[in-house]
């Protein structure tokens, strides 16, 4: 590569780096700075350096730990369910079936819908007075309070699965379609059953795609906000309070920006680890196997 090319390359990258510095680098540094200060929107003239106090405060803040717990349940429940359903449906779409393309197009639509609309649609469908689902179930003498204390978090997981299983289908189907055919033909000639092939060939060969899809979905699920904003606002009690919603509450409803920033930095650190993992998997996938 010539010296000229290298110089041109640098010039072509600089605008993007400039933008990222402005909209990410600077805000990130600002957020870190705020997290070390007692910074309240209601007292902007009395900003005080408090060091790590707000981080230490998180450790014995029960609401924060409830939010962490809820988020972990939500992320693992939603991504697990999406992986199971997504694999089943991707496999069903992969094998020849009538009106395959129509099924494919329909099954992918939810991921393009704005999440607040998904939240409100299901709030409506599952509402105990106005909703068609509880009404239909009542006709069968089944009484389910979808957003009551026992089920609210689970219902949010179901809603997330409705919207994001398509993302899993998309990735797994692409992975299935990219598989080489020879090993499968060989296995069939050897008389392996469909299930044996699935267990010993398909799933191991798909592993990198599965891992990448799971990580991308986890990264998204960690910032769930719209369903909670649309339906439960963290309730009943704190049953559906997630980290992002808690940050919103502390920062924008209680105006304690310093404390909210400290929580955001911790969340950012967790997410950063997941991003490093994802990057590693994508790179390894790219290298010729």
């Amino acid at each position: 590569m010539s010296r000229q090319d290298r110089a041109l390359g640098r010039r072509m990258v600089i605008p993007l780096l400039g933008v990222l510095l402005l909209v990410q680098g600077y805000p990130l540094a600002f957020a870190a700075w705020i997290s070390f200060h007692d910074y309240r929107l209601t007292a902007l003239h009395e900003i005080q350096w408090v060091g790590l106090a707000q981080y230490r405060g998180l450790l014995d803040n029960p609401s924060y730990w409830t939010a962490v717990r809820n988020t972990l349940i939500f992320v693992s429940g939603a991504v697990g369910l999406e992986l199971a359903l997504g694999f089943l449906l991707a496999y069903a779409l992969y094998r020849p079936v009538a009106i395959q393309n129509a099924f494919r197009a329909i099954l992918l639509t939810p991921m393009f819908v704005t999440p607040i609309a998904v939240g409100l649609m299901f709030r409506f469908l599952l509402n105990s007075q106005l909703g068609i689902v509880p009404t239909a179930l009542r006709a069968l003498h089944v009484e389910i309070d979808w957003f009551g204390p026992d089920l609210a978090l689970f219902s949010l997981i179901l809603i997330d699965a409705w919207q994001w299983t398509p993302m899993m289908i998309l990735f797994l189907l692409a992975g299935l379609e990219a598989l080489p055919t020879e090993p499968f033909e060989a296995a069939r000639v050897d008389g392996a059953s469909e299930l044996q092939i699935l267990r010993h060939l398909t799933i191991p060969m798909l592993r990198p795609v599965i891992l990448a899809a799971v990580l991308i979905r986890m990264l998204d699920a960690f910032r769930v906000f719209e369903y909670i904003y649309a339906i439960t606002r963290g309730g009943p009690g704190e049953r559906t309070e997630t980290i992002l919603f808690h940050i919103y509450r502390v920062g924008f409803l209680y105006f304690r920006l310093g404390e909210a920033a400290a929580m955001a930095i911790v969340l950012g650190a967790i997410i950063f680890i997941l991003i490093v993992l994802l990057f590693y998997i994508l790179r390894r996938q790219e290298a010729p196997a």
């Binding site: 000229q4 090319d5 290298r6 041109l8 390359g9 072509m12 990258v13 605008p15 993007l16 909209v23 990410q24 600002f30 449906l89 069903a92 079936v97 099924f103 329909i106 099954l107 639509t109 939810p110 393009f112 819908v113 704005t114 999440p115 607040i116 609309a117 409100l120 649609m121 409506f124 106005l130 009404t135 998309l170 990735f171 692409a174 992975g175 296995a187 050897d190 008389g191 392996a192 044996q196 990264l219 910032r223 906000f225 719209e226 904003y229 992002l244 940050i247 919103y248 909210a260 955001a264 930095i265 969340l267 950012g268 950063f272 997941l274 990057f279 994508l282 790179r283 996938q285 790219e286």
Partner: protein, 291 residues
């Protein structure tokens, strides 16, 4: 590894007719599974569409299917509410953000795909930048918008959307540029173009499908985004997701109008998504997963 005699054994134990029946059964199950899933996806849309046609009194009785459809909700949302304004806000935010993101992202993606400028570090930075949670940036953005007087304008939302749209577009485009044969620009350079001219006049036009796929997907992402829009804008500067949320608050519910607004926000994105779907896996995986 796997016994050769297995199909023979199976054939001996199960008569041919049984095997055929089994196959029909499994094919039926297979079709049925997809049918149930498709119904599950379509039912909420159908129900919302019906709700948009119901007069308010009928909405309180969910089991009722037989109702006299009315266009009142549609007329009210589109003709005598600020909803068209919010629709326009979303269009402007998405368009401005995407055009700017393509403008800075396309050269960067090209430089990376051809010269490996910045190497692994840059590639990681681009991935990390599009994945970082909005919670990290929202507090500084709120204060910056407050101090610059941009709070409660759509421009604050557009700048905030740039945080994930710019790296997203770049990440998408890297994989598309890698698919464009290098001979194309080398030929142009033999003919006397500079490298930059070759990029500008040969590579960019050739990459048009990739550019539009990346741009359309980024537009959908901006259109659907609510967290930043909720914190940074309000009043006349609301975008669609925030406006939709306003139909069901502690102050009251307007299900009919909410349904109209949801359809208006969702249908254009579903149409756009058809053009994007087949590029999506490759784009999101940064070229690592073949679609």
């Amino acid at each position: 590894m796997i016994g050769v005699s297995r199909p023979l054994a199976r054939m001996l134990m199960i008569p041919r007719k049984g095997l055929a029946a089994q196959r029909v059964l499994s094919r039926g199950l297979h079709f049925g599974l997809l049918l149930v899933a498709a119904a599950g996806v379509l039912f909420p849309f159908l129900w919302i569409f019906l709700a948009s046609l119901k007069p308010p009194a009928e909405l309180a009785r969910p089991a009722l299917l037989g109702f006299w459809p009315t266009g009142a909700n549609w007329a009210e949302v589109w003709l005598s509410s600020p909803f068209p304004r919010y629709f326009l806000n979303s269009v402007v935010v998405g368009t401005v953000t995407v055009i700017f993101a393509l403008w800075v992202g396309a050269p960067a993606a090209y430089a990376f795909s051809r010269f490996r400028t910045g190497g692994t570090a840059l590639r990681f930075l681009i991935l990390a930048a599009q994945m970082m949670p909005p919670a990290l940036f929202i507090i500084p953005f709120f204060l910056m918008a407050y101090y610059t007087g941009l709070l409660d304008t759509i421009w604050a939302v557009a700048v905030a959307h740039l945080t994930f749209i710019a790296p997203l577009v770049t990440w998408f485009l890297i994989s598309f540029f890698e698919d464009i044969p290098r001979d194309l620009e080398e030929q142009a350079m033999v003919d006397g173009c500079t490298r930059w001219q070759a990029f500008r006049h040969i590579v960019l036009p050739a990459a048009r499908p990739g550019l539009s796929a990346a741009g359309l997907f980024a537009f959908v992402m901006s259109w659907n985004e609510m967290f930043y829009a909720l914190m940074l804008a309000g009043g006349h500067s609301k975008t669609l997701p925030v406006a939709i949320a306003g139909y069901w608050t502690f102050r009251g519910v307007e299900l009919g109008k909410m349904s109209v607004a949801i359809i208006a926000a969702v249908v254009p994105m579903l149409i756009l998504s058809f053009f994007v779907q087949r590029f999506l896996v490759r784009g999101l995986g940064g070229g690592a997963i073949k679609g």
